[in-house]
Symmetry: C2
Subunit: 395 residues, 2 copies
């Protein structure tokens, strides 16, 4: 089992099983990466919700986004807040845990128990830090497939996720088409855009500019690059919202004051909000993990593995797809989803596409968008019927 070298601040005092289920594969089962490097031994941490049926046909894989983790439902052990898709995952909810066996796996490179820069390198007894190999979205998916093999799950009823989770969904459908009965890529893209790479690079530079980052060795040296990581988060957080949402939520409203301070205090609520987002983030996330996972997203270009043809990635796929985007998402705007849909159609796949009208920006996939719930319930229900999965009442 993997060792957390130095727990994230708020992990301190948590019970050992707080990260969920964990497996460390033997050295005879390394994870061979796109870079050619190996992770050996490989540790994977995950959570499950619901029960696997006898046919092992009701497994529903959720792929998490950049800074999220395996806590899709229930209460997050670090933040004490509901899991990231609590509104979607649970008894009677669109991803019905009375009906499906929901699995969510911490990505390789993350910081909630799976192998990553925050973990101890068994070869040295010290935290990996920047000695951890650079990983890709395909590497994340490979590790997930190894876990599913271990669990004896040959075929997934559905793979779903938003943002980087959606990238994993697309990678799953391309790499293991026979293992994916249905797929829900949400608010995502088949390749990361120049603008998105640029924003990620700003975040990485902010982290690396912090002297407490210590060239990546902060875990050994007992520091935390709080300020740099907070700035990275603040910049990224703006991209998760929309101008309209920021205007609606904050406008130019002042924070706890009647007039401008004529100082550099957080005069405006939006400043105070951003500072708070930055401060909270450093309590739950590892700076090096942020570097690795943003890099994996930047590297994502699914068509590149198929001679530059995205359609080729999905050629002959029997997977049922539902591609989802949001009108106000400027990080993964609708044209990116349409490119996926065009490629799926060109590849002869079964695909539906829905764009939801909302001002909530990219984060809409995590928020209360009733039309999305209704649509996903419909898509999942139809797919379950096609899969021959009984509703709870008939189970």
């Amino acid at each position: 089992m993997s060792t957390l070298f130095q727990p994230l601040t708020a992990l301190s005092g948590l019970p050992a099983d707080a990260i969920g289920d964990v497996i460390t594969f033997g050295n005879d089962q390394p994870l061979t990466l796109d870079s050619g490097a190996e992770i050996k031994p490989l540790t994977v941490a995950w959570k499950t919700y619901g029960t696997l049926n006898a046919q092992k046909s009701n497994a529903f894989l959720l792929c998490h986004a950049l800074t999220l983790d395996q806590y899709a439902a229930g209460t997050h052990p670090v933040t004490g807040k509901p899991g990231w898709w609590s509104s979607m995952v649970g008894p009677g909810l669109p991803i019905d845990t009375d009906r499906f066996f929901v699995i969510c796996i911490n990505v390789v490179g993350g910081c909630m128990g799976s192998s990553g820069p925050h973990e101890v390198d068994p070869a040295t007894g010290k935290p990996y830090g920047l000695n951890f190999p650079v990983i890709t979205v395909r590497d994340m998916v490979r590790a997930q497939a190894m876990l599913l093999d271990h669990l004896g799950i040959k075929s997934l009823f559905c793979v779903a996720g938003g943002s980087m989770g959606g990238m994993q969904v697309l990678q799953w459908a391309a790499s293991y088409p026979e293992r994916v009965f249905s797929a829900l890529p949400i608010a995502t893209a088949a390749r990361h855009s120049a603008q998105n790479i640029a924003f990620h690079e700003v975040g990485r530079q902010a982290i690396m500019a912090d002297p407490d980052w210590q060239g990546g060795d902060y875990l050994i040296k007992g520091t935390t690059p709080r300020k740099g990581l907070a700035v990275a988060r603040m910049a990224a957080h703006i991209t998760y919202l929309s101008e309209a949402a920021l205007h609606r939520k904050f406008g130019r409203t002042l924070q706890d004051r009647e007039a401008l301070s004529y100082r550099f205090d957080a005069d405006f609520q939006v400043e105070s909000y951003l500072r708070h987002q930055g401060a909270m983030f450093v309590e739950r996330f590892d700076a090096n993990a942020y570097l690795y996972i943003t890099r994996a997203m930047d590297y994502f270009d699914l068509a590149a593995d198929y001679g530059g043809s995205l359609a080729q990635a999905f050629r002959g796929s029997k997977t049922r797809f539902c591609v989802v985007s949001f009108t106000s998402d400027w990080l993964f705007p609708t044209p990116e989803s349409k490119k996926i849909v065009h490629a799926l159609n060109a590849g002869g796949a079964n695909v539906s596409f829905v764009e939801f009208d909302t001002d909530k920006g990219h984060d809409a996939f995590l928020l209360d968008v009733p039309e999305m719930f209704a649509t996903l319930r419909g898509f999942i229900g139809a797919a379950a019927q096609a899969r021959g999965l009984n509703a709870k009442a008939d189970a």
Copy 2:
């Protein structure tokens, strides 16, 4: 005359007159600020292009944007590059220096010779740093009006500027309507949006997170917050472009390599470009000035001074306005310009409005957009005719 305490890196070795013309007003002529504080003595640095006519009726004021300065044309003494509007300002160009007396003034709070945090506080003999009072766009315009009074220019033929320069144009038209014959607010807004405040706050936090910022005292302590200022610039620079422009210029093209490095090098051209933008910026701009000027933009809300009515700000104005926006500008999107146009119309002003179709983003106002040149040439020409200014041939 003001004293540059410690020159910006590349200012070293420049001749003393490199910043253009400079005046320091007497202590009996302080600049009284919106905050209630005073700048005393006030120093203002400016550059002129062309010749003031006998009637002093051909003065054309250019208001510069956040990180620009009085070098609108000619060669910039620090960067060695052409002035920021060299394509627009010169003999025979739309802002024709054979015809107009062009004035461009370094804003108060800036770092090219006007009073600002980079300058020595005469009261202490030390650099102002954070002891410099927080200034507003209206304060900038007040200082400009003092200089024009000094130069005996009662009425400006035109006031033009983009971005924060456009804010100054609007402030000029509102504060001194009788002194502004025509006005060209470009790619701007009458109030800074929550999203724009948020981006500025990220930049400020990046600067203040740098230990070399030294609580604002870096000039005294002999350090420079290079890394923080570079991160601030990188984040801001993304907002000056458009996703389409970034895609067109860089896409996912690799920088000087055939394949991904699987490291944290600048694999992608867009990363290398951003790092370069950050590195260049710290050679020419002062970190505290960046704090002050971004703050001034955030504070800008013209209607607030007129009971919340933007139309009231322009009530009865005789100024001829041409409001300009760009389709791909997401920092100051067209709806912001339309709000200005609506207010001008409601205030009974003479206004035309043009939105140019370009993928160049916010920075389009500084770039080669032939349709913009043609339109501005037309607007300026018609205004000059109405003003009774002869063309060069008739002079």
